[in-house]
């Protein structure tokens, strides 16, 4: 009797495993953070269209908040239960790519004749490391120069344009600063994500050309940081912490007391709602070269995924399809990194700002931070020193020299 029960149970388990196996062959587990909150409904829309177009594939979406995401993901990858497909922001992407846990998508692209030209080449390149395409950019946000047209008019200064360099920007900032005691020319935060880019605008670099050592404390980079810090402490076209009196720079801009602000496209909805003056955007000025920064989320496929093929299809759909892109644009949920003219036209129609072209044009000058396995550690080390220079605790030369020492000591290149 007991044996018979055992046999039946074993058969049942075997069947369940087979059925389960068959189902999971077509189920892609997708872990993400950017869909948390209000955006989940747009993600669901994208899945609906994808599953309609790919009847053999089901996508199982799991969304975590950004705060929980990376510890959870780390645990799952370490435990060998990584989701088939998951989202990584650019900053973490580099670390994961270097840790050899992601699948190289290149061969699949060749096999399926995937046309990568539908994606912005710079954004795509950001998600490749050592010549391997480990991810696809699913969304991005560029950082631009946003300016208050009314203050420019009052200061009788021409609006920023693509030919502007630091010099014109500084001159305009000084003229606007002269408008009043409480009016400031520009806000350009002094922190890593700005600094590495401004360094490139000045023709410098944080790493040597062969990528084997840090070059943080070169004379050229000291000049760059001095330029940034002087705006606070010398020309004071930028408000110091004390002058801000607890206000954020967005608030200062919205209050009509700030001529220019270097920030991302995610400020548009806020500014649209709260600014009762005319404003527009421009590609950020450079000095010796133009260089811009973007925040981007990419979709990657786990190296250990058993459904890699289906997972890559989902990744491609999310990153490159017109349908997903239109849902994104309509929802104002960051931007798709695609080159499709109709999608871009739809985006450009939504104003202000009038110069929406600059959002995509900024992608042409994209520079990415040094590709280092210990990426977050590098950012924290540099940030601590930049903060010291910003607050006048160290001169730019001292701060960068200390950063160089600590980085060389701690970061393996």
């Amino acid at each position: 009797m007991n044996r018979r029960i055992a046999k039946i149970a074993a058969l049942g388990i075997a069947l369940a495993v087979m059925v389960g196996g068959a189902v999971s062959a077509q189920t892609v587990n997708y872990l993400n953070f950017s869909g948390s909150g209000d955006n989940l409904k747009y993600l669901e829309q994208m899945r609906g269209i994808f599953e309609q177009k790919n009847p053999g594939i089901k996508v199982n979406i799991e969304t975590l908040s950004f705060g929980d995401y990376f510890t959870q993901l780390q645990t799952r990858v370490a435990a060998g239960t990584a989701p088939d497909c998951f989202e990584l922001n650019y900053e973490n992407f580099v670390t994961y790519a270097k840790k050899d846990v992601l699948l190289d998508l290149g061969s699949n692209f060749k096999e399926t004749k995937f046309d990568v030209s539908v994606l912005s080449s710079k954004a795509l390149a950001a998600f490749s490391v050592d010549g391997k395409q480990y991810g696809l950019p699913s969304s991005f946000s560029t950082v631009l120069l946003i300016y208050n047209k009314d203050l420019f008019d009052k200061a009788k200064t021409a609006y920023p344009n693509d030919s502007w360099t630091w010099k014109e920007e500084q001159a305009a900032a000084e003229k606007i600063r002269a408008l009043g005691k409480d009016i400031y020319g520009i806000s350009h935060p002094i922190q890593f994500w700005e600094f590495y880019k401004v360094v490139r605008q000045n023709g410098g670099s944080l790493l040597s050309a062969d990528g084997k050592r840090f070059t943080v404390d070169t004379a050229q980079n000291v000049e760059t940081l001095t330029f940034m810090a002087d705006r606070l402490n010398k020309s004071n076209v930028m408000a110091t912490q004390k002058q801000m009196a607890g206000m954020g720079d967005w608030d200062l801009f919205k209050a009509g007391r700030l001529g220019m602000i270097v920030t991302g496209v995610w400020a548009f909805p806020d500014f649209k709602r709260d600014c009762n003056f005319a404003w527009d955007v421009a590609v950020e000025p450079g000095n010796k070269a133009k260089a811009t920064h973007f925040f981007s989320n990419g979709i990657v496929v786990s190296k250990t995924s058993k459904n890699a093929k289906a997972a890559i299809e989902w990744a491609k759909f999310m990153a490159s399809s017109k349908e997903a892109a239109m849902i994104r644009v309509d929802a104002g949920w960051e931007l798709p990194a695609i080159t499709d003219a109709t999608v871009l036209a739809a985006y450009e129609k939504m104003t202000p700002p009038a110069n929406k072209k600059a959002v995509f044009k900024s992608l042409d000058y994209l520079v990415t931070p040094p590709v280092v396995e210990q990426s977050q550690e590098m950012v924290d080390i540099l940030n601590a020193q930049l903060e010291a220079a910003r607050d006048g605790k160290k001169t730019p030369a001292e701060a960068l020299s200390d950063a160089q020492k600590e980085l060389s000591f701690k970061i393996k290149l």
Partner: protein, 333 residues
């Protein structure tokens, strides 16, 4: 390793624990003979938890501390061998100025926190020891911060300490003092965190001291009153000496907790996604570093070594305190 104040929260206040402990040994003795299996069965639920979530991770962290595991690669024997660095992590940590800076930050916290928490919690205990109407209500009120989650408490303190609009600086302004920028100023950030910690912990230790004070035999006070002792004399000659066992317990727990300082630093000093421990690393403490190395920098092996160093430090400091207690703790009540 995973000692936290909560491990002691259930404990009886020290003053009482001792007196009850002596009697306990005979009363709690199991009179009836139960089979070892039954005992084990009843213990199993918590044993399993202890094994899975404390003992095993601790053993694993000891091994991992000798590797450069990144927290991502699945662990197999072969990978452990491949990642083995021996004492390399420990040498790197001790050879880095960061370790000594972090240790001195922690010591600074202890130097500020320990005297203040003793004064604050003994004062609270003395206040709450009086027979006044509504005294139990006050006891509850002082205990509320203990029940409050650290995240919520730290967020409130972030606001209290805010330079322009904060409660504290506005109060200081009333008496003509221009308060510092607290959490934005590297000289004042740690004192700011100490203030928040005192607020949070004083009620808890106050209650422990209250237990200690109420355990003192009233006949001592009666005798002193007959001899005409003043209130101050009674406090310094009777209450405090007889309270030393409780003070000792509180000091030990406070020092252990101080080395494990973490949530208040994480919440109060992180700014918009940037790392905690600022400004200029002034509030970087050991657990904050361990967390950063493990979950932000993907250096799990290195973080494991840090936590074992933390364990050794706590163990050594506590052992020293245990030795020194003979010199100042009176057990003959």
């Amino acid at each position: 390793m995973r000692l936290s104040s909560t491990d002691f929260r259930g404990a009886v206040p020290a003053g009482r624990a001792r007196s009850r402990g002596r009697a306990g040994r005979c009363t709690v003795a199991i009179k009836k003979r139960a089979s070892a299996w039954t005992t084990f069965l009843f213990l199993a639920p918590s044993l399993v938890g202890l094994l899975a979530f404390s003992i095993l991770p601790m053993a694993a962290s000891l091994v991992l501390g000798f590797t450069r595991w990144d927290g991502l690669k699945p662990i197999r024997w072969s990978t452990v061998r491949e990642m083995w660095v021996g004492l390399g992590n420990y040498a790197a940590i001790l050879g880095d100025a960061e370790f000594w800076r972090v240790l001195s930050n922690t010591s600074y916290f202890i130097v500020l926190y320990l005297p203040l928490i003793l004064i604050a919690s003994i004062s609270i205990a003395l206040l709450l020891n009086r027979k006044k109407p509504l005294i139990s209500a006050y006891r509850v009120i002082y205990y509320i911060p203990v029940l409050c989650s650290w995240v919520a408490g730290a967020l409130i303190w972030k606001w209290i300490l805010s330079p322009q609009y904060g409660l504290l600086n506005n109060i200081l302004a009333l008496v003509g003092i221009e308060g510092p920028a607290w959490l934005q100023d590297e000289r004042w950030a740690m004192p700011g965190i100490v203030l928040a910690s005192i607020w949070k912990d004083a009620g808890y230790f106050g209650l422990i001291f209250l237990g200690g004070i109420q355990g003192i035999d009233p006949s001592y006070y009666e005798a002193a009153e007959l001899d005409g002792a003043s209130r101050i004399q009674k406090l310094f000659r009777i209450t405090l000496p007889l309270l030393t066992p409780t003070i000792f317990f509180v000091v030990v727990i406070c020092v252990i907790n101080s080395f494990q300082l973490f949530p208040q630093v994480m919440v109060m000093t992180s700014n918009g996604g940037q790392g905690a421990g600022g400004p200029l690393g002034a509030t970087q403490v050991m657990v904050e570093r361990i967390y950063s190395y493990a979950f932000k920098y993907y250096k799990m092996g290195y973080a494991a070594s840090w936590s074992w160093l933390l364990f050794i430090i706590i163990f050594a400091v506590t052992a020293i305190q245990m030795r020194l207690q003979k010199k100042w703790v009176y057990y003959e009540a």
